[in-house]
Symmetry: C2
Subunit: 347 residues, 2 copies
Amino acid sequence: MTTQSARVRVAVNGYGVIGKRVADAVANQEDMELVGIADVDAGWRMRIAEQKGFRIFASLDDRTEAMRDRGLQVAGNLDDLLRDAEVVVDCTPKPLGAQNAEYYRAHGVRFIVQGGEKHEVTGHSFVADANYASAVGRESTRVVSCNTTSIVRTLIALKRVGLLKKARGTLMRRATDPWESHEGGIMNTLVPEAKIPSHQAPDAQTVDAELDVVTIAVKVPQTLAHMHSWSIQLTRNSTAEEVIDAFRQSSRIAMIRVDDGLTALNTVKELMADLGRPRDDLYEVALWEDMVAVSEGEAFYAYMVDNQAIVVPDTIDAIRALTSRDQDPQASMSKTDAALGIGSKLV
Amino acid sequence: MTTQSARVRVAVNGYGVIGKRVADAVANQEDMELVGIADVDAGWRMRIAEQKGFRIFASLDDRTEAMRDRGLQVAGNLDDLLRDAEVVVDCTPKPLGAQNAEYYRAHGVRFIVQGGEKHEVTGHSFVADANYASAVGRESTRVVSCNTTSIVRTLIALKRVGLLKKARGTLMRRATDPWESHEGGIMNTLVPEAKIPSHQAPDAQTVDAELDVVTIAVKVPQTLAHMHSWSIQLTRNSTAEEVIDAFRQSSRIAMIRVDDGLTALNTVKELMADLGRPRDDLYEVALWEDMVAVSEGEAFYAYMVDNQAIVVPDTIDAIRALTSRDQDPQASMSKTDAALGIGSKLV
């Protein structure tokens, strides 16, 4: 039973857009065991989880009966699930994660909250490639949001090779998630976030306080993914090749090309489907290599961010960091990437 | 008849999205006379023109019969129209304007082409507030495109007060015009222009070669208007108030406020309708005053560009410049603005 007991026992609380992807990814790691998922839903989403063989728990006690009435096999409540887990990944809608944090602490279980929660909930914000080491052995961390994850991944790549001075970006945000797009979306308009910088730039600084970054965010009427355009002041004159190399040598940034026919968000999504990725997920920042322009100490580029998927690999790494399974960031990231099929190239 | 003969006799060739607005605006100027419009359409668009009392000509001879068959009173062909005009505004789809240029020259009529044509067609590119004087008495000019017009208006405002060093912008472009949105649009995706800088930055430099400007352009799935977000390097430390004042003191930039309920493109369009603007047109750059952020020598802002309307006032000014009716830019712009109801405030 040595191997068995060495595996990290992981619970997932909240089985929505992120939670279901995290649960699949956990179940997919050789060194982890998914002990169960908790939610309040009694409908089709839980039946799919049951078909996958996941043990189901009721996040709220008063939902147990409704879930059982709909024929779900409910293994217990959240207390029962947490007793069995070494770490819980909270994927509930904000700000429930902040409320749940105290509950997790009372149960003595390590926990991860998602980027919708405030930095203060855990006092640590996580992007694997940037600050894995500082999360090792911690009680908790917060995996930052999709946009922030992409910002940190790309800017860290430039910082690491000494090229980054200042970064100024425009975020074209998908208006809502696909599965909820029958309500609460926007149509045929653009909606700016009223404040400059938008919230993502200060959020990136919770991971790396040295980043000189400003963002302007605008909601756009589509549901596929976010897209960013960036204007970077470099520390010195450089070339497109050097900037592209910095991205290539970094983690979870995949180069794509317009002249390869990847001309828009939808063509990249189609590629994910054809690659057989689960749920057509794009875990990488997909950055258009043949758009990168560098001129006299400035770089310009654009990339796509799959808001549903990009934080999944970092969440898996955060599990290993909190439970001290890997001290070395690269060891954990390599395991995660291998399990999810992540590389520096998509085609 | 002194007053009558002093009026500029204007023809409009091409009665589409821009042409019909230019025709209305010309008919609305006290010092201009619309001698007729030319097109190839035989459908509803021409019948509206007829109802307005405009004289209709066939742009192509072989369309005359089809137009008469549909009951239109066709006054003649393009030759006939040009014989009667001192200046023609070409509003045909690109690249027809380039072909027509030789024809206009042969007829000895001054001409204006739209921004879809190349700078070389006329050798002069026009934004009233930037370079009216250099167009006075010329045979021809090109009124630059909607996006370029907005870029020049806003950057000139900052340049004039000595604040502008470098400008880096992201253009979120409406995918197609509303009246054509039943075909050729995009849905639920984003499509980057493959090249950085996108074509608008070099285009702005055809009006003012000194502008240090780079643009990244992305098509978005809506039809209302374009939206730009900008990151500006200033020549010195400044304040939001100073930047806003520079915009206020410039021309055809209207300040709007998120906290006034103007939270998105559609709310601004609704305001245009409620103001009674023809076709709900927004001639100004509508710039969000309460989003403007200035920090240590940098400014950030976002604005809306009504691609169907913004070039109309500049086209009217270009008519006065070519025909030497006003030597003073401000004299012409004031007349145009008064006739179209343009101010520095919308509400």
